[in-house]
Amino acid sequence: MSVNSENMVKVFERPRSLTGAQFSYCPGCHHGVVTRIIAHTIDELGIQDRAVIVAPVGCAVTMYEWFRCDGIQAAHGRACAVATGIKRVNPNLIVFTYQGDGDLAAIGTAESIHAANRGENITVVFINNQIYGMTGGQMAPTTLIGQWATSCPEGRNAQLAGHPIRFAEMIAQLDAPVYVTRQALYDQKRIVAAARAIKKAFQCQVDCKGYSLVEVLTNCPTNWRLSPVETNSRLMNEVVRTFPLGDFVDRT
């Protein structure tokens, strides 16, 4: 069978805001999905030349190399403070942070809560995979009760290590945030919903409405020691029981 290339229509391509540099994520990891959704959002909103990435430490540390956007690498936990500094001196920029659970909900708790409380007009993308990925699978503030991690080899014990922090719900207690939601990526429907939520969060900033947070429940096949398919089942059947999905604040 011959194919006439003149009649072929491109129905899927790499987002224009990506450079083509290879992501450094592990196979089957949801990080790649979220990163791509962000790139697609930047394309859709036409903000590639205004966007500034505040990259975290860990699995997405070189995120600024993957996008055709300005970017900065922030110290562990400090991304929301760095984003505040950038956005306040140049409100025309579209500034977003991309942070894991240790970054946002442990070492950076103060910076994360206070940026939200000031209602900084930034977008926070929070990757909640319930574990420290890059450092090799230690317990995170979001690790589930009973979940194994290298630093809780008997599983997380609430008496010793407390309970998983529901960050989106905490942020939702504040008066300033405009859009706070928790999404997941364990099936196609959820991916579409998460993409919609991320776009809404960025739109919120473009419209100068204020602070938005999208918490995304993600996997870590490498450190959970499960196959990608098994991680999706676990997210759908177990993780959402601790971290319910949905919008917690919508003042858009």
């Binding site: 300005d70 970017g71 690498q73 922030a74 110290a75 403070a81 500094g85 306040r88 206070h114």
Partner: protein, 339 residues
């Protein structure tokens, strides 16, 4: 110092209250909005220095201020600023330490300021004013040096200067729009490739190359930017080395000594990094005694001894705990070392 920063074109200030430097924060809160600048009272010193990191990366002249315990908290951020080659001015109105210490004047943060403080191979330029007029001049200079070399610059003041009032003439304000452009700043990738600001280099060969390049810049700074003041040193047989508030007190001691016919001189390092090693080395060949006086247990003393080696006696007079010596205390110590 706060007003000098505004005159220098600083348009972003982030701080957290701590005595004895709250007046800077309060002045910025009142005046930064009137010049179209940004003021935020941050949730911590850690957040404040990271807001500086962001604002500086966006291309604006940026400052934070604190006092010793708060400066300790900023050290992580200062290491990142240095490693990302970002200009920033940090004022330390130093107080008694270690730990909570007290709110009285101290020079116990010299090591932290000049030898690192944060992690990794980096330097800040460190400027030590002795009077408020000098503080104004050095705050202005700090912004210029920070931009010129893309380094964090610390103005190392102390609780005495921080709580002092004296009349000064303010400089002509700098229009931020007239300052040299910063093509590396994060302003949005419009009509150019993306700008990235990062201190991360996974490959040791890359990090080695970047670090060597930065060290080359430090050698340039050491060559060009050493500043110090000499008082009555040309015929001196004994010389005091002191910076900041102590230098000011020592000037009076020199005057008193001269009126008694004693050939006492003073060297006041103005840049604490880069330190005026060559000037002290030159003097050490022709004076017998170089007395270091500090509000510390002997920190700058180590730099003085590096410069002087065994070419002169290098006694030390240190006052701790927030106490401040009088000119007479210093003169008594000078006489003790002469006899």
């Amino acid at each position: 110092m706060a007003e000098a920063a505004i005159c220098a074109g600083c348009r972003a200030y982030f701080g957290y209250p701590i005595t004895p430097q709250n007046e800077i924060l309060e002045h910025m809160a009142a005046h930064m909005p009137t010049v179209g600048g940004v003021f935020i009272q941050a949730e911590s010193e850690v957040a404040a220095i990271n807001m500086c990191y962001g604002a500086s990366a966006a291309g604006v002249r940026t400052m934070t201020s604190s006092s010793s315990p708060g400066i300790s908290l900023k050290m992580e951020g200062i290491s990142y600023l240095a490693a990302a080659d970002l200009p920033c001015v940090i004022i330390n109105v130093a107080r008694g330490g270690p730990g909570l210490g007290n709110i009285a004047p101290s020079q116990g943060d010299y090591f932290q300021a000049t030898k690192g403080g944060g992690h990794g191979d980096y330097h800040m330029i460190v400027l030590g004013p002795a009077t408020i007029a000098e503080a104004i001049e050095l705050v202005m200079l700090a912004f210029d040096l920070a931009d010129k070399y893309r380094v964090p610059v610390m103005v190392l003041s102390d609780g005495m200067l921080g709580q002092m009032m004296e009349p000064v003439a303010l400089p002509e304000p700098v229009d931020p729009a007239s300052l040299p452009a910063k093509p590396w700043a994060l302003t949005g990738a419009r009509g150019r490739g993306p700008n990235a600001i990062s201190s991360y280099a996974m490959d040791p060969r890359d990090l080695n190359r970047i670090n060597i390049k930065r060290q080359t810049r430090y050698r340039e700074i050491e060559e060009r930017e050493v500043r110090y003041q000499e008082t009555e040193t040309s015929d001196a047989t004994i010389i005091i080395v002191a910076y900041g508030t102590v230098a000011r007190i020592a000037r009076t001691a020199v005057r008193m000594a001269r009126s008694e016919g004693m050939k006492l001189g003073l060297v006041q390092p103005v840049t604490l990094w880069p330190f005026p090693y060559a000037a002290l080395r030159a003097l050490s060949g022709r004076v017998g005694t170089i007395l270091t006086v500090e509000l510390s247990a002997g920190q700058m003393l180590e730099d003085v001894r590096l410069a002087v080696a065994d070419r002169a006696q290098t006694p030390f007079y240190g006052v701790l705990g927030g106490l401040v010596p009088t000119p007479n205390d210093i003169l008594t110590e000078v006489k003790r070392n002469v006899s």
